[in-house]
């Protein structure tokens, strides 16, 4: 059995704790082990890099350095953690001056930029695979129509090849498809949800997230599926951001698999936009 070094990031321990519970249930079903990175810290998110590039690099590199002691792979389910870790890992590896400067700050820790950073989509493809998913599901999800929503930062990784197409990714589509849900084609796979403006410019987040919700509604979807904690949060917050129109539940990718395998969601109570109506459509196979 493979054991992945798991980097939760702040979100999976606070605002998206049910994402952690969800992937753990799915991973344990498929026999993927995980070990939480010892004493991990914040990746710096967008704040670190904006205030000072070096702080941004140092914060992400601290976790990479810890991960290098554990093995060769680091699993980061949060899109922002994944993005910052990928960019930092690559730049530290390729830029000697940067590596020396950051390592001076990290001392006695050392980061060489040699771990492989993996997101949730890659882990599910690499260690489970769509065939296995399709074979092992116990519930019929064919009456649930969903749109795949990737968000900005998972594939838009600057100056690097991404694991999927930067503007028209399909890797999550096939995972959802293998769960048996009806997958809808839509133009908003990559539209921005408002990112970290939720507190500083609420109206902007409302406008952007509402546009995504409206598009999903116009296609008569039952839910939006995303791998990103911030996207999930912003869309799920729509009722509190001032939207009065109808909203669709926003599921994490692993929740789709939870439904296919177990027929229920551990995180039902954590969703702000209720999931009950959608869960009712799940049928025993």
């Amino acid at each position: 059995m493979i054991t992945l070094t798991y980097y939760p990031g702040c979100s999976l321990k606070t605002s998206s704790r049910f994402y952690e519970e969800s992937f753990k249930a799915v991973f344990s079903f498929f026999g993927i082990g995980h070990k939480e990175l010892e004493d991990w810290s914040c990746c710096g998110a967008s704040a670190g890099r904006t205030i000072d590039e070096r702080i941004g690099y140092a914060l992400a590199a601290r976790n990479l350095a810890l991960a290098e002691r554990e093995g060769h792979q680091l699993f980061a389910p949060c899109s922002a953690c994944y993005n910052r870790s990928m960019i930092t890992n690559s730049n530290i590896r390729d830029d000697r001056e940067l590596r020396e400067e950051i390592n001076k700050a990290l001392y006695p820790l050392q980061c060489t930029g040699t771990v492989e950073v993996k997101n949730i989509i890659e882990v599910l493809h690499d260690h489970v695979g769509i065939e296995t998913i399709a074979q092992r599901i116990s519930y019929d999800l064919s009456s649930i129509r969903v749109v795949p929503y990737y968000g900005c930062v998972l594939t838009r990784i600057m100056k690097m090849d991404a694991f999927d197409d930067k503007e028209d990714p399909t890797s999550m589509d096939s995972l959802i498809w293998s769960s048996g849900m009806e997958l809808l084609n839509w133009p908003y796979k990559m539209e921005c949800c408002g990112a970290s403006k939720t507190l500083t410019n609420k109206d902007m987040t409302l406008k952007l997230s509402a546009r995504i919700m409206d598009m999903a509604l116009s296609l008569k979807a039952d839910a939006i599926v995303t791998p990103c904690p911030l996207c999930q949060m912003n869309l799920d917050l729509l009722p509190y951001l001032g939207r009065t129109e109808k909203n669709l539940p926003v599921l994490f990718l692993t929740e789709v698999l939870e439904l296919a395998l177990f027929g229920t969601l551990k995180g039902t109570g954590s969703h702000i936009i209720p999931v009950d109506e959608m869960v009712k459509k799940v049928k025993k196979q």
Binding site: T14, D39, T50, I51, R54, A105, E167, C192, L237
Partner: protein, 181 residues
Amino acid sequence: MDDLGFLHEVEKSTGEKVSTCYQCYKCTAGCPVVADMDIYPHRIIRHIILGNRDTVLTSKTIWTCLQCVTCSVRCPNDIDVAGVFDALRKISVREGKMAEKDTWRFDEIFLESVRRHGRLHEMEAILRYKIDKKDLFSDTKMGMGMLKKGRIGLLPHNIKDRKGMKEIFKKIEDEKVRGSE
């Protein structure tokens, strides 16, 4: 007003070849928040080339940007436009020319929380920002709703090596001071 050193300064601090821009407008066409900007992204790039330093540094645009990097991915000349905006923010702050202060202030508070705890303490960061803005009650309903759903951490999540974390911040800051001398 024209500052021919400005292009050089921006290119040097970002490593981006801003001068290769041929004004195709792709960055502007794909930007999801262009309606909230005072100067379109492709024009910011042009202003940099022309040396219109103050126009760029006092613009609302650099703060409206969400860093979704759609523009950067689409640029035919491989200019990381969002990265350039991020660098412009730093210069704008250094020179006290910010058109909007909230974005920067929130990022500072975010980092301060990470420096103290090693991880973001959501409740502390949100309250500090709200106190700073003298606007404690506008989002009470949202806050209570999130609390009820267990989606805000009330307590800090301290790492074990908090001392090491503070040292990382200090060493980076000391290096910055040395670098600018």
